[in-house]
């Protein structure tokens, strides 16, 4: 763990501080002020990503530091879920944003790197970006699944969906992105390495994530109304697979493979 005494580090810490302050303000029943601070945190997160982009001179999605920087820009997803899907959880999103930025601020190496030949492709940005969006949606879905298991429902008058339905709605948005990420990655693998499927640990774990959510849809279709709690377990298992795909595969030596440059 190290503190980054750089402008980049300062921007990351300011975003974390804003998200945490927004979270505290919201849970102490000042949601409007919390929302303004959350928006301010998002603005700093955008500046942080923009600064990184300017600094490295390519789309900053190359390594875990840059990916987590991108994941920290959770606000648009919160807004979309609230307005379009009637799913709440602003306070949780603020906390997720701070948690996600923590490893970027204190753990991952922020040394700028030039793109290796394999990453110089038009598929680099869409492949990683759709995955990042899907991961944020799935993280939100997991929070709703946990709320369902904990028996926490939205207050009457909030005009929000109950957690089980909210989980389903968010997964419906995230799953096409997960599919698109998998397929774009496969197409890119064919262009760069010669095979659209190389049985690499990262590829297999991303397939596992996709399959778990596929299983979720099948299970919910079969027993959706009877075993609503099991639906939520499927969603949590899917998120666990995503965390392994994103972190464990890159950080552990157990899974060395073609995606090792992403650390």
């Amino acid at each position: 763990m190290e503190i980054k005494y750089t402008i980049q580090g300062l921007l990351v810490y300011m975003t974390i501080a804003a998200y945490l302050l927004a979270f505290v303000t919201t849970i102490f029943r000042r949601p409007k002020i919390g929302h303004i601070i959350y928006l301010l945190g998002f603005a700093i997160a955008v500046c942080s990503l923009g600064y990184r982009w300017y600094h490295v001179r390519h789309v900053p999605l190359q390594n875990l530091f840059e990916v987590f920087l991108c994941l920290g820009m959770i606000y648009p997803v919160s807004l979309f879920c609230r307005k379009a899907l009637r799913v709440g959880g602003y306070a949780a999103d603020m906390l997720i944003g701070a948690i996600v930025l923590f490893p970027a601020g204190f753990v991952f190496n922020a040394e700028p790197q030039q793109l290796p030949p394999a990453l110089q492709s038009w598929l680099f940005t869409p492949h990683v970006a759709v995955y990042m969006f899907s991961y944020i949606f799935m993280a939100k879905a997991t929070f709703q699944a946990i709320c369902q298991l904990a028996g926490r429902n939205p207050k009457p008058g909030e005009n929000l969906l109950p957690p089980e339905e909210a989980t389903y709605r968010i997964i419906c948005v995230g799953f096409p992105l997960l599919t698109l990420g998998l397929i774009l990655g496969s197409y890119w693998g064919k262009q760069a390495w010669g095979d659209y499927w190389g049985w690499d640990p990262k590829e297999l774990w991303s397939l596992v994530s996709w399959l778990v959510f596929l299983g979720y849809f099948h299970f919910r279709y079969m027993f959706g109304k009877k075993h609503t709690r099991i639906n939520s377990f499927w969603a949590i298992a899917g998120m666990a697979a995503i965390i392994i795909t994103l972190l464990w595969v890159n950080l552990s030596r157990i899974f060395s493979g073609l995606h090792s440059y992403a650390t």
């Binding site: 030949p117 799953f175 096409p176 010669g194 640990p201 774990w205 596992v208």
Partner: protein, 335 residues
Amino acid sequence: MWLALVLIIVLTILSIYGAFIGAERAQQFFNKPSLVVYWIALAILLIVGIAAFRRLFRVPGLLLIHAGCVLILVGGLWGSQGGHNLQKKLFGIDKIRSGRMAIYENSSENHVTLSGTREQKELPFSLKLNDFRIEYYQPAYLQIETADGNIQRVTAELGQQIDLGPEYGKAEIVRMFENFKMSIEDGKRIAFDDPRPGLNPALEVQITPTSGEATTHHVFSLHPGFGHTQGGPKMIYERPPYRAISDYISELEVIDKEDNIVARKDIEVNHPLHYGGYHFYQSSYDDKAGQYTILQVVSDSGLYVVYAGYWMLCLGVIWHLWLRHIFSRFKAKSI
């Protein structure tokens, strides 16, 4: 539905197992006969499912998703080694599934060493390598200053030549070293690139005067001035100690049996050559002298079936989970 759920869970467990054993062993594992039976069973179940569940025909998104999965499985099986063996048996098509070929600069080659074996097979055409080069983010230069004050500078690449005028003749870069070392064999000094950790970038420059014998000089980037001879040209090798590679490029020509050039392409990472039912990828190179390139050769059998499946799966998922809801919302609003 139960069976579908069971097959999804089985594939999830198998994928987790595959992730722990590494890519090479996982590839062998998922191509085992028992797993081929699983893939075929999955494809059959999907086809039977499409036929049996009438609901799928009323929901185009779900139909596209399931049909897309069938195409991906069929394309994958058709493009596998087993699929290639079947093509040979049924239609007499004898294609190489995958392999590697090494081609020296200015020579052509049509022999492919098959993956996992030492067996070689011939392609029905040849590939000629005109040039192989590595490009770096930070370029390196060779600068030569002659006694009359004439300074010339070229990018440090193998084969680069500098005309030094009538007195000195011509200079050519004949070797490049990352970690230059000298050994003495039979009383002769021999330069070599030491693969062990270390850094001593150097160039071997041959100077051929208009009359007289060629002389060999070594120019070091970390030791400028080392080896300068009295009255001889001063050479400087400018390069940062560590350089990131930006690209590997092989300039290729495809030559048919009648010796005609039928295609040309500079292949690089992410930009393979597609010709005659094969894709050719930049895979490796001669890291000592940069004289040859190594290409990966992969058959395109079943590939477009898989791609069609990808399109159908993507369109199906997006239609079923996004677009149909957006359209129905617009419809409801307009009513």
